[in-house]
Symmetry: C2
Subunit: 711 residues, 2 copies
């Protein structure tokens, strides 16, 4: 389900993914951190981007490219000054524990600290003194203390012969490593799987759990331009929030923090982003990329279009409904933007040719070593075969498994399955219902959620119509779902006649178990029951193929590390990375996008749209306009490599001084998920000078500005 | 040869084309103006755009679409308030003869009236009083007095059976009509060929030849953003110049002029552009469009790239050269932009499908009437066959005829030919050397022009290399041109050893005639002599095919008028048209381009580029910034249909009041040359409020501003 700000959403979802991946895991082996020289002196390849780990900084590459080679002290300082929020990045920016992140990363805190009769999202907030700073309930940041390579220990624990056995042993040893570390160090320990298992690294974090809100601008200026301007540049967003870390109810004094640059980002300057990119797919094989490009993404986009069609129908001639669904529509439009962007990179034949050339080189390196060839050589073809087979039944998978669209049908399907699966031994259940999964599903079904009947009816009918259009006429699923009736009739009956809107009814079915579900005449339960066997068959078939792809993708990650070592950075894993880049404009729409924008542009874009939402200037910004030096740099772009999870990352210069705050990619940069390029792809950041100018002139936050500037 | 501002260039070239087409022509037949109802009540098709003639205004379509149906008085007023410059459009905007046009349309006047020690292009100019207004030597404007349909008289004069005979008779009767009209009315009369001969209309103009410069802004603000921003939007250009028409040394009082709107252009408002679009190709057949798309434009673009490669080589490591060639490079880059834009429309499969569907409908209408079918039915296939044949020898045509690239070789080829052709009877000469053509060529050869030897050598070598790469190895042209040597050796010898840089040498060859040319050992004359036979053969072959295309294109124009009447507007002919449109932003680069910009944006873009050229603000604009209301509308976009020649057209509202001044298309609009669309294509204009704000606050031109606003 897409959300309003896609970058935040990606941050969130990839963060959770990354966490889920590592949370059930841990270790101790004392092998040294990987060296930065690759096993075969393989050269850096720009299409893999620049998300470097702190234990393998590419010093030679930096020296060669920029004539800059930071020492270990520089690297340690930068690492310790950086912190990770649950789904974003951040940094210490003062000696008294000020932490800088994006406004969109701190929304929950900004909302929860608001007074009962107003919202800081609307009005903004700036503590007049330290006593006014507001505690953010439940928020914490993690500071990376050390990294230890635990690959050998994990490898030696994995002795099984089947993938399932190996996975179980790997999970067990990772959990053991993490638990030992947690107990010994009292730190928060996570084993990070790099290169899909090429290296396992134990990351030890110090956690700070008392964060307080110091300053947050109005949502209208933090997210100025709203969804239309999201993912784009030129941009005019003050997407910043300042928090403060406390310890024992007093401001914390960090051992390291980032000082504020006097000039901020300057055109053509080398700068670094330090943060936690969530997830990239740069190690995907050509077969995986082609599947996404030709099968998966087109289907996803068609699904978004279907949902948008439903909202358009609901809003037709009904302005109240149009307003009500506006956020959902924006969300889908943004997801459409993002997925179209991912696909754009895959559609670029030049970029794909680069990738093909890499795959040839990679496979040749593996083939040249009989041992590597025996271990990894078959993985590409195995993935390609599985992707090909997945492509053959993709419409079945999409329609039989019936994901997305109608919420009621999802709830009904989950109810039917939870009841059936709970009667089986854990290992025989469908994947999502194993271990804690069953309870997660039961909780989801039991929760009190709002159901929009009008939407449900149209969405269910649209799903059924799409199934009818794409599946063969004699598909048994269609017979089971429609029973000869029209999609509209089935949807009307199922949605109008159901009691599944009511959570107490859902809970009663869960409690009633298999008998209650089997006896139910509730029309949407009947529908869910009728299609469940098809759903089950196709899901299992896809799961088996995806397991083949996953285990071979792991092998390819390991093969990559074997062939290239750390000459190429690993895919993103929501762990700390440092990315080099240059402050630089780009060709856009027939002309040039400048490397920076200024406050003039904020007022321009507002005036050009007659100050209409989402281009409205908050009252304080209108009133205090004449105080501002409008030519102050406000946002800027650079060629650094970021993705969701990097939101809130500081941008620093060679002196490790703050020059900006990353908050988005331009739309051209979305395609960097798979193949990194810098022709037109850019990181979009708030300029450090713009932050201070706003603090001083708009928010009267002189003491905070002085604190940042070290005055 | 591309020029700096492509829109001006198009205006110029298409204007000259249009003039050339009609200047040798004249008539009297008293048939009434075409009615606005079409012969078969055919419906309007949006892909043909909205360049309506004043004798066939689409009143029903306007009423249906906008609920607006102007009466004849409104139309007469608007027509008489509009005037035509030699290569642009303009309008009367005050009771004392003020004429508004673009800055880029009045450059010659602005330059020629400048003091000897400075340039109004740099400093701008605003007459403090009427006595300071500066006469623009040689400039005139034409005001359209009346239109008369002379189709019947022309048709009845064309009795011949061969195309050559018909063309000659047509030319003669047109000249006669124009001459009679000039003598009888003392007006300037032109027969305009609409629908490629579907209608002939006699346009009678009153000419005003005393124009004086009243106000022109600095070039830097008129063309702010320079070549990068050319053809783009959002835009921030004060592309305006005010002139005044004088009669008997006193300001002229026009019978009609456009009053100034109080609000200027407002979002979603219906507005009209009134002006003289130069040339469109909307009546081209699919075969013609495909030839442009697949053969002609790619070759043109490759030629531009070749020239850009030469400049890049010249500039490599030589900053002085880089500066010297900067304008040429900009020119080619802009032409590249424009032609890429034309081609974009043809590459759009949806747009081409619309066009195909039209062609099917069109041909079916013709086929339905045996008389029309007999006259026109074969024309599409005839054109397609000729285009196919042209495509088969396009590389030969390009390289054997050797156009573009080396200027010296062009001069040498012209010298060789002028001498050979002058010995033949006129009718047997190559087309370009018939009638006044020969003298035009001789004058071009005799003129004193600067030759850049370094460029010549590289350009000639590049041309020869391209010929080598694209022609078969055994092409006899290659043997004749290279004689076994490398392109570089031939170019070096030809350029270094020639005396053709010197105009007196060229004149001596012309005067020496065939004997002098035959005896010459000048290496580039030898080269030109050697390739002339190939050149001649291929040019004649192409000319014969192009004559077939031209005569059938004429038939199709006539067929279109027969099938659709004036339901579809004719292709542009640099004669007065009125186009309807809506003030409206558009989706751009992932977000929305606003319908207008403001002065804030001018200062934003300047500040974002650190006030570097071409984003530098003139000193007066920096000094007087605080006087301006920065939120004043400055530029804006609308869906009106314009093309080169429309530069300087007024935009008016339903009250015939000035709301803006057209000066460009956005880059998305360039593709409208062949297929008109309004999804993202826009006319870019200066907003009337921006003009007055600048006059009052920046130029202290209070009296002129009062005159415009009728105060």
């Amino acid at each position: 389900m897409p959300t309003r700000s896609m970058l935040a959403a990606i941050a969130l979802s990839t963060a959770l993914l990354a966490c889920a991946q590592t949370s059930a895991q841990v270790a101790t082996s004392p092998t040294p951190a990987a060296s930065q020289a690759s096993p075969q002196q393989a050269a850096y390849r720009p299409e893999f981007g620049t998300m470097w780990t702190f234990d393998a900084p590419p010093i030679d590459y930096w020296r060669r490219t920029y004539n800059f080679a930071p020492d270990q002290r520089w690297l340690d300082k930068v690492r310790l000054a950086s912190v990770r929020l649950p789904n974003c990045s951040a940094s210490f920016v003062s000696s008294r524990g000020l932490v800088m992140t994006n406004h969109h990363c701190a929304r929950a805190c900004i909302e929860s600290t608001s007074p009962s009769d107003s919202s800081y999202m609307e009005t903004g907030f700036a503590a007049k003194s330290i006593t006014e700073e507001k505690k953010c309930a439940g928020l914490y940041v993690d500071q990376l203390q050390s990294i230890e390579n635990v690959t050998t220990r994990i490898r030696s624990a994995v002795t099984g012969t089947t993938p399932a056995e190996q996975a179980s042993q790997r999970g067990a040893v990772i959990t053991q490593i993490q638990d030992e570390c947690n107990q010994q160090t009292r730190l928060t320990c996570q084993v990070v799987t790099l290169y899909h298992g090429g290296i396992y690294s134990l990351y030890r974090y110090r956690r700070f759990s008392d964060l307080r809100l110091v300053m947050a601008p109005e949502g209208e200026v933090a997210f100025f331009g709203g969804d239309p301007d999201n993912f784009t540049y030129p941009r005019y967003d003050l997407d910043v929030t300042l928090l403060r870390v406390y310890e024992n109810d007093r401001p914390f004094t960090p051992s390291e923090y980032l000082r504020w640059s006097r000039n901020g980002a300057v055109e053509n300057e080398l700068i670094f982003v330090v943060g936690n990119p969530g997830s990239t797919g740069r190690l995907n094989t050509i077969a995986q990329m082609e599947f996404l490009r030709d099968v998966s993404y087109p289907a996803t986009l068609a699904g978004y279009e279907r949902s948008l069609g439903v909202y358009a129908e609901l809003a037709r001639g009904d302005t109240a409904a149009a307003r009500r669904y506006q956020n959902d529509v924006f969300g889908y439009e943004n997801s459409f933007k993002a997925v179209t962007g991912y696909r754009t990179g895959l559609l670029d034949s030049l970029q794909m040719a680069t990738k093909r050339e890499f795959e040839r080189d990679f496979r040749a390196r593996i083939a040249a070593d009989p041992k590597l060839q025996a271990e990894y050589g078959a993985s590409w073809d195995a993935i390609a075969a599985a992707q090909r087979e997945l492509a053959t039944f993709n419409p079945l998978l999409r329609y039989h498994s019936f994901a997305g669209g109608s919420r009621l049908l999802t709830l009904a399907s989950q109810t039917v399955r939870a009841v059936l699966e709970s009667s089986k031994p854990d290992a025989q259940r469908l994947t999502a219902y194993r271990g804690p999964g069953l309870n997660t599903v039961r909780a989801a079904v039991s929760a009190n959620v709002a159901i929009d009947t009008a939407f449900e009816r149209l969405a269910l009918a649209a799903q059924l119509r799409a199934a009818q259009a794409e599946l063969p006429a004699d598909d048994p699923f269609l017979r089971a779902a429609l029973g000869g009736r029209t999609p509209e009739a089935v949807a009307a009956l199922a949605v109008q006649g159901t009691r599944m809107r009511d959570s107490t009814f859902r809970i009663s079915l869960l409690n009633g178990g298999a008998a209650a579900v089997a006896a139910s005449t509730d029309p949407i339960i009947v529908l869910a029951r009728n299609i469940d066997p098809f759903n089950r068959t196709v899901t299992a078939r896809a799961a088996a193929l995806n397991a083949i792809i996953a285990s071979n993708a792991e092998k390819i990650g390991q093969a990559m590390f074997a062939a290239y070592g750390t000459a190429l950075p690993p895919d993103a894993t929501f762990s700390l990375r440092i990315s080099d880049g240059i402050v630089k404009g780009f060709p856009m729409n027939g002309t040039i996008a400048p490397y920076k924008t200024t406050f003039y542009g904020l007022y321009e874009r507002s005036a050009a749209f007659d100050n209409k939402v989402p281009f409205r200037i908050p009252p304080r910004w209108a009133e205090r306009k004449n105080r501002l030096d409008l030519a102050t740099p406000y946002n800027f772009v650079s060629t650094n490599d970021i993705i969701g999870g990097n939101s809130g990352s500081p941008l620093i210069n060679k002196n490790a001084e703050v020059v900006g705050l990353a908050f988005d990619s331009n739309i051209e940069g979305i395609a960097n998920r798979f193949i990194f390029t810098t022709d037109v792809a850019r990181t979009v950041s708030v300029h450090s000078r713009g932050i201070v100018e706003a603090l001083r002139k708009v928010y009267d936050a002189t003491s905070v500005a002085d604190e940042l500037e070290g005055r």
